[in-house]
């Protein structure tokens, strides 16, 4: 759904500025137009300043212009109108004005909202005037009697009455709903306590629409309510009512992707006539973190000052001035003031935020409270309010800074001038030097970030493959592949016979980063399972440390990284016996660091190996990894059926030029695999499925069964454990006779994959 720029009514952004939101717009349209059954309340949740309000306004414009069955209404709660009478009057005036404007297809009638309600009603169409007048009269009467409850009931029932009389589906878009929670939470002035009670009684707003849903009948059109606001306090609005949560629709709203954001920056600059270089564009993407508000502020500021953004210095100068005293600074100041209304608490808030801005991993609550120097209880309340407004994260033990880097910059600048009272620089904004130093690092981080993204992709692709062991062994890799091109390495890796079985990774967590004397790193925790067996003893945990440095990583830096790894692992309740540590260093590792890694039995790679791993895993998943020819055989689980399989593979292997001895080995391995599958599979179809794939240099035999997994999936562990049982002996036989053996999880069972290489005479 798209609105032409000429059809903008409430929305503030042009289509070129409002990008990457097609999916959310479609969700809202579906939500509004789903008739009869279905959810009638949705919450739009997402980070602050991501554009939730604009999405509501765009939705309003869409339905207003469409002029069809959906009656849109947009109302943003206002801090000054949180008492029941003001709210009731304001909401009803705006609702009626928008309703009349919609019915008359004339947005200019929105101005009616500024007229007394009795006057507003007179502008209704002939069809609507009777019931609009009824509503207005009832409201005026209640207001005259000072009956707040009746006023609220009258206002909040207006959408339902409009639905009843017109057959339209009201879509009530409530913005800044978090103010509702704030109003009742403060408790000193209880206007919305009353409102909440009215909600329950009048079956309106948050209780009413959920109740309506529960008893939903298809023939009565109920209003749809879409709520937006700060995520944290909004969540507190809802009572722990299971039915209510079951009926609630959540529309997630994330920051737009970098691609969209980059387009937005360039389009925005072009529209404003601001010259923008590609490198500054890239820096803006990274520094402004896909935040539209901040980006517009910087571009507007550059445009009004007639400044070109050609170099980092150009950009950082405009940015720093904006943060110190421009629109960004004033917005952030107002945000803090909103949570901390008086000077004393503002100072305390600034103290807390400044402490957190430089505390990478958060600060203990007690130390933050001490720094705030407020009376007992006051600091906690203030932290709670700052948390609600997403200016910091107030946990049970630690307080962390918000992820808003612009806030951190503002806090640093404000702290300098307001708390430390440092003099302002004679020329240039106070932040500039600091920001320029950071800009360089940010762009380095971007380079590093591409490796982080690659590592994330590689870890996510781990799916029980058998990967060449040298990819985790820097020395072995260097010895074999030094000086070879990436393509050559990719081809040669197929020939590697020493392999390791990767776990199947199901979750990758960014465990943060750090830096120390020219080295910076980022940690990822990758959790999953070995051999595709989902039980506690097969849980796998990998810790991948991506290290960026210009020199080989020395042992001291490695020690610091290890401390961070230990910290990241603390508090994890994984049953994984021993996490696998994998260090990836851009320039490799010093001798002492290598020794330390080896003694800890950890893995180490360079960026080149990460590239090779990425290529290798991609190749495995690519369609051209298909073998030349394939045969399939299904045998029943019954006495000696495995002999049929052995005879079949004999013919196939002979045709593929395998020699007599190798053929016997393959046959024996196939027999053992079949016995294993029959013994341990509990296959519901009582069948064993086999695939024989022949390619130029190998035969790959996959023996699968449905149902429970067979044998101990960890073939390596079996071989090493010198199993003496029959099953262990069978696996040992397979392992000894074939060149590669591994288990593979399938959706409905397990496969044993065995490879035998064709050793041509010249290779022997």
């Amino acid at each position: 759904m798209e609105i032409s720029d000429t059809g903008r009514i409430l929305s503030r952004l042009t289509n070129s500025e409002f990008i990457g939101r097609e999916a959310e717009m479609t969700r809202i349209r579906d939500f509004a137009t789903a008739r009869g059954r279905g959810t009638r309340v949705a919450m739009l949740l997402g980070p602050t300043r991501a554009g939730k309000s604009e999405l509501l306004r765009k939705s309003f414009d869409h339905f207003f212009n469409e002029s069809a069955d959906v009656l849109p209404s947009f109302y943003a709660l206002k801090p000054g109108r949180l008492d029941d009478q003001s709210f009731a009057r304001d909401f009803l005036s705006i609702f009626l004005a928008q309703f009349i404007a919609f019915r008359r297809s004339d947005p200019s009638l929105f101005a009616l909202a500024f007229e007394p309600i009795a006057v507003v009603a007179r502008s209704a169409t002939a069809d609507d005037c009777v019931f609009v007048k009824e509503i207005a009269d009832a409201f005026v009467q209640a207001a005259g009697a000072g009956d707040s409850t009746a006023m609220l009931r009258c206002a909040l029932s207006a959408p339902s009455r409009a639905a009843e009389r017109t057959g339209l589906v009201p879509l009530v878009l409530f913005d800044d709903v978090h103010l509702l929670a704030g109003a009742s939470a403060r408790g000193a002035n209880p206007p919305f306590t009353e409102l909440n009670r009215v909600h329950r009684e009048s079956n309106e707003l948050r209780y009413a629409f959920f109740d309506a849903l529960k008893n939903g009948t298809a023939d009565i059109v109920s209003p749809r309510y879409l709520l937006a606001g700060f995520e944290r306090p909004m969540a507190e609005l809802l009572p722990a009512d299971l039915e209510l949560f079951a009926a609630l629709e959540i529309i997630r709203f994330e920051q737009v992707g970098r691609e969209h954001f980059e387009r937005f920056i360039h389009a925005g600059a072009a529209e404003r006539g601001v010259e923008l270089s590609d490198s500054v564009g890239e820096l803006m993407v990274h520094q402004l973190k896909c935040e539209f508000f901040y980006t517009r502020a910087v571009l507007d500021s550059a445009a009004s000052a007639g400044v070109a953004l050609r170099t980092f210095v150009d950009f950082e100068r405009v940015y720093s001035a904006e943060v110190a005293s421009g629109r960004i600074g004033n917005y952030l100041r107002a945000s803090i003031r909103d949570a901390a209304p008086d000077r004393r608490s503002q100072r305390a808030a600034l103290e807390a935020l400044a402490l957190l801005a430089d505390a990478e991993e958060g600060a203990p609550i007690d130390s933050v409270i001490e720094r705030m120097s407020l009376e007992p209880g006051g600091a906690e309340d203030l932290l709670e309010r700052l948390h609600s407004r997403e200016l910091l994260n107030y946990g049970h033990r630690l307080v962390n800074a918000s992820s808003d880097a612009m806030l951190a910059d503002y806090v640093r600048a404000a702290y300098r001038s307001e708390i430390l009272s440092l003099p302002k620089p004679v020329s240039g904004p106070p932040l500039l030097v600091e920001k320029l130093k950071r800009a360089h690092r940010l762009m380095m981080d971007r380079y590093h970030g591409s490796f982080a993204a690659q590592l994330l992709d590689v870890l996510s692709r781990f799916d029980s493959q058998r990967a060449p062991a040298c990819l985790f062994d820097e020395a072995a890799y260097e010895k074999r592949y030094r000086g070879m091109s990436r393509a050559q390495v990719s081809r040669s890796l197929d020939q590697e016979t020493e392999r390791v079985t990767l776990p199947q990774i199901v979750e990758v967590e960014d465990a943060g980063g750090g830096e120390y004397e020219g080295i910076n790193w980022r940690l990822f925790l990758a959790a999953g399972f070995e051999a595709g067996i989902y039980n506690e003893s097969n849980e796998a945990l990998w810790v991948a440390a991506l290290i960026n440095s210009n020199e080989p990583v020395d042992v001291e830096s490695l020690g610091r990284i290890d401390d961070r790894i230990a910290a990241a692992l603390r508090g994890r309740h994984s049953k994984a016996a021993q996490p696998v540590c994998w260090y990836i260093g851009k320039e490799g590792f010093s001798a002492a660091a290598t020794e330390r890694i080896e003694s800890a039995k950890a893995l180490r790679s360079t960026h080149a190996q990460l590239d090779a791993m990425s290529d290798y895993l991609f190749k495995l998943s690519a369609p051209d990894a298909q073998p030349a020819s394939e045969f399939e055989l299904v045998i029943p689980i019954e006495d000696e059926a495995e002999l049929i399989a052995a005879r079949t593979i004999e013919l196939i292997a002979r045709a593929a030029d395998f020699e007599g001895e190798a053929i016997n080995q393959i046959k024996t391995a196939v027999i053992e695999a079949c016995i294993n599958a029959a013994e341990h599979g509990q296959s519901p179809d009582r069948k064993i499925h086999q695939r024989f794939a022949i390619s130029e240099d190998r035969i790959i035999i996959t023996v699968s069964n449905k149902g429970r997994i067979f044998a101990n999936g960890n073939i390596g562990a079996v071989a090493e454990s010198q199993a003496t049982g029959v099953r262990g002996r069978g696996l040992n036989i397979i392992r000894a006779l074939m060149d590669e053996v591994h288990f593979q999880r399938t959706d409905d069972g397990t496969s044993l994959v065995m490879t035998k290489f064709l050793k041509r005479p010249e290779q022997q």
């Binding site: 006495d639 000696e640 002999l643 080995q665 024996t668 016995i675 002996r729």
Partner: protein, 121 residues
Amino acid sequence: MNNSEITTRLVEGVAVLYPGPYLNQLRGERIEERCHELLAAGVTRIVINLGETELINSIGISILLGVIEAVNNAEGKLMLSNLSSSNRELFEMLGLMSHAEIEETEESALARLGPFATAEA
């Protein structure tokens, strides 16, 4: 292949067993039964000729190990003969060679277990 009968012959007090082309659980158990019968009848010298045995599986091997142990416990002697190179490799791999005595041919096994050899044993 369902013919699981084990051919047996007695040569001067030594029993020679022929497990057939595939030594699996079924044939392993037949050999086991046959050996117990032989031991009960006082025949304690046994040769298992694997010349026709093309394939052996792990269950067959496990049972074979049990049979060797039973014969040893009865103070008898069991020898394997006519192993193909693949079967020999399999036995070596599983450490069976230390449990069983192997002879190249049935004749050489008989020669070692026959009446003249008995005195030695």
